[in-house]
């Protein structure tokens, strides 16, 4: 058995099984004492062949398949798929359907960012923020359960519409829940930007300049924290975002603190949008008839998931099963920044840098 000690450097394996990772991914960091000198990553441990499976199931069954690509951004995947297929079939959905889809998407964004807050705090060793953040996340999970009947994999989408409607009682609950969450998020933003111990771990760590972010192709809040103005809800509005616009949250520091601040400030935008949306919900029918065989053609649909932009390429050959669906998720774009940014940092910073991009290996590997 050989050891990996060449001169004073050795390789620290993080993954595929490691407490820092919630999902498998193999990182190898060469360290010299505590400083990282080189890093590699190997992915694919959560590959389930979803794109190939999609070719053997009909258009309707695939909604549920793609929904299960990821547990945190499940609604995003299902919505992107439905939008693409509806575009191919040339079906226009009613404004109410778009509004309900937007509502659930924003609730998903809230739950995802609060989940990320807790997980990153845990990686930094700040378990109290983790526990309190997840306690408050239960509010949004209860809202999602009330709307759809399920806490994860809400399955509100069907081809051509949604399954659930939003009643005035639900609107009331959403408004109350959003008020509570907003108060708590203000507190967390305060904690994240002023807590001395936490700032020692996040300020100036993992700095990614704007040029680096653009060269590495970063997307989502990771890129916006480095000053790259990329947000699909603003650049290419879909669903109800043209009627209820969102403001892009940018920060030019590019370090871990900026990523925390950007995600938390995005939450405030989501709360504002939710309030406006539920009080001005447009009318319309909940479902439009869709043909079982979709016209031949190709289309691209893109959506802003909580982690960045999700890209679906859907190709139909006129039958009741898709010919090809290709999915490109945001973590793929952000993963190279981890191996680049980790160089020169201490080993203790590496889990935080990894958590800072909000990695979702299931999305990544499909």
């Amino acid at each position: 058995m050989t050891t990996n000690t060449t001169s004073e450097r050795f390789t620290v394996p993080i993954g595929p099984q490691h407490p820092a990772l919630k999902e498998p991914g193999a990182f190898r960091f060469n360290v010299d004492g505590e400083i990282v000198t080189s890093a590699t990553v190997r992915l694919g441990y959560a590959h389930r062949g979803i794109e190939k499976l999609a070719e053997n199931q009909n258009w309707v069954q695939n909604i549920y398949l793609f929904e299960r690509t990821c547990g945190i951004c499940s609604h995003t995947h299902a919505t992107t798929y439905c939008l693409g297929v509806e575009k191919l079939a040339g079906v226009e959905v009613s404004p109410r359907v778009s509004a309900i889809r937007t509502l659930v998407a924003e609730l998903e964004r809230i739950h995802s960012h609060l989940l990320w807050l807790g997980v990153s705090a845990h990686e930094a060793g700040f378990d109290t923020l983790f526990m309190f953040g997840w306690r408050d996340r239960e509010t949004v999970m209860d809202l999602l359960e009330m709307i759809s009947g399920n806490r994860v994999n809400y399955s509100v989408n069907i081809l051509g519409g949604v399954k659930v409607d939003v009643t005035p009682e639900i609107v009331e609950q959403i408004l109350a829940g959003v008020d509570l969450l907003e108060e708590r998020t203000k507190h967390y933003l305060d904690v994240v930007s002023t807590d001395a111990g936490f700032l020692q771990r996040t300020r100036g760590v993992g700095v990614m300049t704007r040029e680096q972010a653009e060269a590495l192709g970063a997307v989502g809040p990771t890129a916006r924290a480095s000053g790259v103005a990329r947000d699909l809800r603003v650049d290419a509005p879909y669903l109800s975002y043209s009627d209820f616009p969102v403001q892009m949250i940018l920060d030019d520091r590019g370090d871990l603190e900026a990523r925390f601040v950007v995600r938390l400030r995005e939450l405030f935008e989501s709360y504002r949008l939710l309030r406006e949306l539920v009080t001005h919900m447009p009318e319309g029918e909940l479902a439009t008839r869709m043909p079982r065989r979709i016209k031949a053609g190709e289309t691209v649909s893109r959506l802003e998931a909580p982690r960045g932009d999700v890209f679906y390429f859907i190709q139909s050959n006129g039958s009741d099963k898709p010919a090809r669906v290709h999915v490109r998720t945001p973590t793929v774009c952000n993963m190279t920044s981890v191996v680049k940014l980790a160089l020169g940092h201490q080993l203790a910073d590496v889990p935080l840098i990894l958590a800072g991009i909000d990695p979702c290996f299931s999305c990544n590997d499909r």
């Binding site: 390789t11 620290v12 407490p19 060793g125 378990d127 109290t128 936490f198 771990r201 203790a348």
Partner: protein, 306 residues
């Protein structure tokens, strides 16, 4: 009869079995208080005991390439050090079982023996996580040891003795050194957290970075012994700081109350702060820790001169 009572004292009460069980009880109190601070339920009372029983029933895997004797002996040596240190402290509010002049230094050394054993155990293996953990354990040992020792020597200077029982008696006579030596008290509490590797000083066993640090390769009996050693260290450390600074531990009830109050404060500090990186720990200790305790000593010297 004397030998029998000695053996009973060593094996059962106040050292030995009762000490091990009270170590587990304090570990439970620590976890339960932390949970209460974090608004959650926490483990049931028998959880640490169940953990140890389960570990003792598991197979001990000795990894390839280690020195087998050292691997098996180090947990035993560590636990032995912690148990021996307990013999000189006023545990459970009773007089220490053995006492001699200068036993403060010996006790502190024996407590450090556990940390040293863990550091050695980590360096013994070929596993990267253990090596990094061992380096961090030893680095942390070098950083908090001096301020912590000076903080515990403050009451010794005030009492005019280096014998733990005499210092404890001095404090029991109604002298609350936490009021007259506040900086020393602060350094003692934070130093105790460093010694026990409690958050925010748990870089040596940072779960999300190096799995379990120096103890990564241990399983079964070795891991159980390390856990027991940590529990005993917790009790001994709390007893020492409570006896010195909080007005002595004259009887079991006072001991229980004072150690629990101290634990309450320590767990609050645990819940409040993020884990520090090892270089930040060293910086903190060598800058602020040493500074505070030296200022405290300066004040003591000046007040003594006046």
């Amino acid at each position: 009869m004397n030998t029998v009572t000695t053996i009973a004292a060593l094996l059962l009460f106040p050292s030995g079995l009762i000490l091990l069980l009270s170590g587990l009880a304090f570990e439970w109190a620590d976890r339960k208080l932390l949970a209460q601070y974090q608004n959650r339920l926490g483990p049931r009372w028998f959880q640490p005991l169940a953990d140890v029983v389960k570990l003792l029933a598991k197979e001990e895997v000795v990894p390839e390439g280690v020195n087998r004797t050292l691997f098996i002996a180090l947990p035993i040596a560590g636990l032995a050090g912690a148990l021996t240190a307990a013999l000189y402290t006023p545990l459970f509010g009773l007089q220490p079982a053995y006492s001699f002049r200068g036993d403060l230094i010996v006790t502190l050394y024996l407590l450090s023996l556990l940390t040293l054993c863990m550091g050695l155990a980590g360096s013994n293996t070929l596993d990267r996580f253990s090596l990094v953990g061992a380096t961090r354990t030893l680095t942390q040992l070098f950083s908090y040891e001096a301020p912590f020792m000076l903080a515990l020597l403050g009451p010794a200077v005030a009492a005019g003795s280096w014998q733990i029982s005499e210092i404890a008696d001095y404090s029991s006579a109604g002298r609350y050194l936490l009021l007259t030596q506040p900086l020393g008290f602060l350094v003692a509490i934070v130093g105790l957290m460093g010694k026990l590797e409690l958050p925010p000083f748990d870089a040596p066993e940072a779960e999300t970075e190096i799995v379990a640090g120096a103890r990564t390769e241990y399983s079964g009996r070795g891991l159980a012994l390390f856990r027991l050693g940590k529990g005993v260290e917790l009790v001994v450390g709390l007893t020492l700081v409570a006896a010195f600074y909080m007005g002595g531990v004259a009887n079991p009830l006072l001991w229980l109350v004072k150690t629990l109050i101290l634990l309450l404060v320590m767990v609050a500090l645990q819940a409040l702060f993020t884990r520090l990186r090892i270089d930040q720990t060293v910086g903190l200790w060598w800058r602020y820790g040493a500074l505070l305790v030296l200022v405290q000593w300066l004040i003591m010297v000046l007040v003594g001169l006046l």
